[in-house]
């Protein structure tokens, strides 16, 4: 009940403070996620981290110079040093033997080191106005006030607006920068715009989640969204939703437990969504992959049992004879449980029936079994004919391939081999009926 009340209280947004914090984190989460999509696609994930760390000296310097915590002044300093760091990374990697990853490492640590130095200096300077400046290190979302939210709102509009306006340009330079240049696009200009809005997103977000976690706000939503879609526009929208939702939930969690910091919780929720996406995403997710594996195993089991029943029928020239589990086990060493599981699936498919504890093929089952045997033998013949593999080496391969060949491939095989009668081991290749062969 307590939780429910908390939920109602939070999400009704009656409390002004709650409204500011929720709206602020939502705007921040969504807009940095949108910008982060392009950072992610341009494989510049670590540049986001560099900017975040490099903003600290800018904030400290502008405090030392202007002696004020006016957010706009601090933002100005933040923008300048953040931007400088991007330039330094680019300059080092373009003009020296140092590779980009090293350039990033160097720049990040030097800027951050200077930032910490300045911060320590300020804290020991006895200036009472400095109190709270350290919130830039770890962020302090719970202290968001109306002014902050207005600033966030304006910046979000700038960020998202810029992305919408230059969506084509940004996607073009993210995918194929050389081509973009050859059609006359000023690539440099758009790279600068993209870096600038990235710096802006980081500079604004840093007050909420802090230097250390800001990179996650940029990159994680994009990485999670990528699992769900192959369309760039959809990816950007999903990332925005993930970022926004994480923002609100982070704020909610720290609201219900006031000792909990907001920034880390936003990142925790983000990471949870990202890991969840990795697991359950429809095409590339780990769960869907393991489901596919299971499906394959079941298909193999089904096919093998129906094939066994068919081959027994073929051998004894009596397809519809009752057969006991023990007989089947004699021919193929399955654990009884597995065998029964397979038989029950086939029963549901109406390919076998159970009569007095004995199993019998149905007409449909006979067809299915015949198909597996036919594909197996056609494939063996294909391997010996087209790949020149020795007849005694083809069985193992056909054992697997028989489960995956589609009806289209099957008919292609039949055409290619011209409806052969015998496989390489002189076994008959069974067809549905004679008409098939003449067609």
């Amino acid at each position: 009940m307590w939780l429910f009340e908390q939920i109602v209280e939070f999400f009704s947004f009656q409390d002004v403070n709650i409204r500011y914090v929720a709206l602020g984190t939502l705007l921040l989460g969504a807009s940095s996620a949108v910008v982060g999509c392009f950072t992610f696609l341009r494989k510049k994930a670590l540049v986001g981290d560099t900017i975040a760390h490099s903003i600290l000296p800018g904030i400290c310097l502008s405090f030392i110079i202007f002696k004020t915590k006016d957010p706009l002044m601090l933002l100005l300093g933040a923008m300048l040093s953040g931007w400088l760091s991007v330039y330094v990374v680019d300059y080092i990697s373009a003009n020296s033997k140092i590779k980009p990853d090293t350039a990033i490492g160097l720049t990040l640590s030097v800027f951050f080191g200077v930032g910490i130095l300045l911060l320590t200096h300020i804290q020991h300077s006895g200036n009472s106005a400095q109190a709270g400046l350290d919130k830039f290190l770890f962020g302090k979302a719970a202290s968001l006030v109306q002014n902050d939210v207005i600033t966030f709102g304006i910046v979000s509009v700038i960020l998202i607006g810029t992305i919408i306006l230059f969506f084509k340009q940004f996607s073009l330079i993210s995918f194929d920068v050389h081509f973009a240049k050859t059609i006359g696009l000023s690539v440099r200009t758009f790279e600068v715009i993209l870096s600038t809005i990235t710096v802006l997103a980081v500079a604004i977000g840093i007050q909420t989640v802090g230097v250390v976690l800001m990179a996650a706000m940029l990159i994680t939503p994009a990485a999670a969204a990528r699992f769900w879609t192959d369309k760039l526009k959809v990816m950007v929208i999903i990332a925005a939703i993930i970022g926004g939702v994480s923002g609100i939930f982070g704020a909610f969690i720290s609201y219900t437990a006031p000792s909990m910091p907001t920034g880390p919780w936003i990142v925790a929720v983000l990471s949870f969504i990202a890991i969840g996406s990795m697991l359950v995403a429809p095409k590339n997710g780990a769960i869907s992959k393991s489901r596919k594996q299971k499906k394959n195993q079941r298909k193999i089991l089904e096919d093998n049992i129906i094939k066994l029943l068919y081959k027994l029928g073929e051998k004894e020239n009596e397809f519809f004879k009752n057969r006991s589990i023990r007989t089947l086990k004699n021919y193929r060493e399955y654990p009884e449980k597995k065998l029964l599981k397979g038989l029950n699936i086939l029963k549901k498919k109406n390919q076998v029936v159970l009569v007095n504890d004995l199993w019998v093929l149905t007409e449909e089952g006979k067809k299915a079994g015949m198909r597996v045997v036919r594909i197996h033998r056609l494939w063996e013949l294909y391997l010996t004919t087209y790949l020149r593999i020795a007849p005694d080496h083809v069985h193992e391969d056909a054992e697997t391939i028989e489960h995956i060949i589609t009806p289209e491939m099957e008919s292609k095989l039949e055409h290619l081999l011209d409806y052969p009668e015998k496989d390489p081991h002189s076994a008959n290749i069974p067809y549905k009926n004679e008409k098939d062969i003449n067609e």
Binding site: F175, H178, T182, G184
Partner: protein
């Protein structure tokens, strides 16, 4: 042998290109006539890709100039199309084949206008010409090497250019795809287009190209294919780098010496 033509579609004059001060192209100078299928042939590291990148303004020139249609690249961009190497992009990018082909339309109409119905028609038409119509909505991450190459060609076709510069369009594609690409290039030539292709298979080059450039950091020959394909010239191209030339290049890099005094 360097046969110069009057009124060329492309003129490269005394072009030197260096990477980190080391020249990879030395004083390359040639002209190419209209309406030809042109091959740039040479061993690995001969600077073939660098040459067409320099023509497209993708790498800075150390010296010399390039004229297309007797004009600068910037004024004739809409008539020129560049097909980069397939491996130069990450095919895991979230886009469909149609999205990529539509990029070919961006240059023609400026990037602020929306994609029109006509643009889409042209994109589909281009896909049809490379036999990729069925793949229009396919994710590019699911394409085979040959399909990726044909997607790039469709994008180039959608540009409706007159001069095409292609970087290794036959690299890593199967024989059937290579054949179909060659047919397409011949068809384009018939329409009066000029196509310049970076290629490194000597065997097929003689069949494909009307005009051939032999390149190995310096221009060995430029002229009609049958005149250029002599044992002597081929040996000169493939017989390794000129020792003195490479030594000077290394020295320039070591001393960080500029390509021109200026």
């Amino acid at each position: 042998m360097n046969i110069q033509v009057d009124n060329p579609v492309l003129e490269v004059h005394d072009l030197t290109v260096s990477y980190d001060k080391k020249p990879v192209l030395w004083d390359v100078d040639f002209t190419i006539p209209y309406g030809n299928l042109v091959g740039i042939i040479g061993p690995n590291g001969a600077g073939k890709s660098t040459l067409i990148k320099a023509i497209m303004g993708l790498v800075p020139k150390g010296s010399g100039y390039i004229k297309l249609y007797d004009d600068s690249l910037d004024s004739v961009r809409h008539k020129v199309s560049y097909v980069p190497q397939r491996e130069s992009v990450d095919w895991d990018f979230p886009a469909s084949v149609l999205d990529v082909v539509l990029m070919g339309r961006y240059g023609k109409k400026g990037l602020l206008k929306r994609v029109s119905k006509k643009d889409k028609e042209i994109a589909y038409e281009s896909l049809k010409r490379v036999n990729m119509l069925d793949f229009a909505s396919r994710q590019i991450s699911q394409l085979s090497g040959g399909q990726q190459q044909r997607t790039f060609l469709a994008r180039a076709l959608a540009q409706e250019a007159d001069l095409y510069l292609m970087d290794e369009p036959f690299a890593g594609v199967d024989a059937a795809t290579e054949r179909s690409i060659v047919d397409l290039l011949l068809e384009m030539r018939k329409e009066g287009k000029t196509i310049v292709v970076v290629h490194h298979d000597l065997q097929s080059a003689i069949d494909y190209f009307d005009w051939t450039l032999l390149l190995n950091t310096r221009l060995v020959a430029s002229g009609p294919t049958e005149k250029v394909f002599t044992t002597e010239l081929l040996q000169e191209t493939y017989g390794g780098k000129l020792t003195l030339l490479s030594k000077i290049g290394d020295l320039m890099k070591e001393k960080q010496f500029p390509a021109r005094e200026k």
